[in-house]
Symmetry: C2
Subunit: 374 residues, 2 copies
């Protein structure tokens, strides 16, 4: 990793909460943190064009190595100019290692120190993912930030199995670091250990000496309660270096983002804005709006009167509801777009609140508003 | 119909072919003719935002009265500002009468001079459409151009049945004219009569005295051969007034548009650009491209090197194919958008050719190019 290609500037840290304002520099421009990355699993944020993402303030997107390696194949993406050219996204991209999907979607055939052998969820073919191949594939995809291969056990998980997973994740991380050859990509380590402080400590103490330019917290948002997630962040975030970005993988709901930012997390990704959008569930300043509800049949109001996105400026709830009832694909498109805009605005407002030293007030205000209507 | 709200200016007519260059003025801006209207059946062109339509040159869209009357109901659309406000399309809109869908989609219960009783294809409920209700519904929807209720029998059709349909269409047209109260909408008549010159003559001679501001040719593109369609245009178009726009309903393929323009038709609508787009079939300067074909797996070329649309400027065929193979909705969106752009460019090029007196050459050039690759 050539450090001229990657930088994290910590602009300010909120005294009361630990919330941080920062800026990540990548070969494809900068990202203001805390930041939320919409998910473009297969090289496309479902239903949304890159220009539309940019218009609502998205600076960075995530794409999934496992899915792209199966379809169309990392070699095809590489030939077509890497992910940036392939999907026409000129901003920063992060790819995961593929490990999480191997453990959650595929049928595991063998797991040992060498790597993991699994069956594709698409065609049942047998494939292998090792720390070395995870690096090779992510180099072919060409994202700005790439992730170490990690073992992510399902929760609850017995102690011995968790120790194995944590230690294997550390050994794999060292091999990833050694195998990673591209100088224009930042390789992040992933701290595992479930919701147990001792396990997180064991993971962090193994990974920190490897001096990755950023650290992720993996293994959360896998079914544990929000209380457990926040508690885990309370003891895990302080284990991470303060001069490097902290990325909470796969999280989450707007309230989770606010809580995690107030615990010092800098980066997020989640499918919720798009998945909920496709299911007619909208995030708004006043909480969730379910558009299939008959109450919206003649509802002239915009989804969110406080939102300035194209969807809220132009369309009534009644029209959006009609699109879903009629099975028109424009419904999923418009509500996904609004939801992404909502997330981007939330993160922008969080950054403003941190800069102004008002993040504690911001948190209580938002949580109160959202809980009223939930 | 208050004529200040609607005007057709015939700019030039090509001597060799009869192709016409013109301009329609409506309460929502003008439309250059010959013009192609993308179809927004349910108040949305499938998967495409109004801004995207405008960006590729669309000036006018069509929406379907039958579908909107069933869902969400014409009253709901009216309450929400009419179709223009409902779907956020500030340009001209045309609605059909609902007749065509009643005859093609619904289960007919009764058809007589009063009107037609049918079962909804959505929920099986019994509904009635009369000339008077077709006018009332289209007034509620609020399009700029609306259509008379007509009877459109399936082809082939025996002579007695066709005479009945033609004469009933004429009687209904008179009732539509009498019932139509809104002064800011232009009501068009529809000439029926299948592929028979005598029947078309019978229909036209009944409708012309009613002095509609525009005339449509209905009952084509319902399964007859292209040769029959062109032959029918050869004898039907000259029956229509030259100072009023001529609209060929539901047509069609790019070659059909070229042939019909060269026979003096001014307006078209068809679902082909969007329906084919959703099925990975693209229209290009060199003919059809089927994106699911494995030949495009690593194909770095744009869909159409001669096309300037966003899709052709930004994406490879390999990426578009990947989206379809992976089931990503961005595939249908992007290829629909390109296909609409292709149709708009075709009509723009036709207008340029007519203005330059080169439409005969244009026709032979295009038909030769497209047939080579078909």
């Amino acid at each position: 990793m050539n450090s001229t290609f990657f930088d994290f500037e910590l602009i300010t840290t909120d005294d009361a909460t630990g919330a941080r304002l920062g800026r990540i520099t990548t070969p494809h421009s900068t990202v203001d943190t805390p930041a939320f990355m919409p998910v473009g699993t297969l090289g496309a944020v479902k239903g949304i064009l890159p220009d539309q993402l940019r218009d609502v303030g998205v600076q960075m997107v995530l794409s999934n190595t496992y899915h792209l390696a199966l379809r169309p194949g990392a070699g095809v993406v590489e030939e077509l100019g890497g992910l940036h050219g392939f999907m026409d996204w000129s901003g920063p991209i992060l790819t995961d290692s593929g490990g999480f999907q191997v453990f959650s979607l595929a049928q595991l055939m063998k797991l040992d120190d060498a790597g993991v052998v699994f069956k594709s969820h698409i065609d049942g073919s047998t494939l292998e993912l090792t720390p070395e191949s995870a690096m090779r594939i992510q180099e072919q995809l060409g994202a700005d930030i790439i992730m170490c291969l990690d073992e992510c056990p399902a929760l609850p998980c017995e102690r011995e199995k968790m120790i194995d997973a944590v230690d294997r994740t550390t050994r794999w991380a060292a091999r990833c670091r050694d195998a990673h050859a591209r100088g224009d990509q930042a390789l992040f380590g992933i701290v595992q250990g479930g919701v147990d402080a001792g396990m997180r400590e064991r993971s962090a103490s193994g990974l920190l000496p490897l001096e990755f330019p950023g650290y992720a917290i993996g293994g959360l948002s896998v079914g544990e309660s929000p209380v457990d997630m926040y508690r885990t962040l309370d003891f895990t975030v302080p284990m991470l270096p303060s001069d490097k970005p902290r990325y909470l993988m796969g999280v989450g709901r707007p309230e989770d983002l606010v809580e995690a930012v107030c615990r010092g997390v800098d980066m997020f990704d989640c499918v919720m804005p798009t998945r909920n959008g496709r299911n007619a569930s909208a995030f708004t300043s006043a909480g969730r709006v379910r558009l299939r509800n008959k109450a919206h049949q003649r509802d002239e109001r915009p989804l969110d009167p406080e939102c300035e996105c194209l969807v809220c400026r132009r369309y009534s709830r009644a029209y959006l509801r009609h699109l879903f009832i009629a099975g028109e694909m424009l419904g999923p498109i418009l509500v996904s777009l609004h939801n992404i805009a909502f997330y981007q605005r939330l993160l922008r407002d969080l950054r403003t609140a941190i800069a102004a030293g008002e993040v504690t007030m911001f948190r209580s205000d938002r949580l109160a508003r959202w809980s009223k209507s939930a």
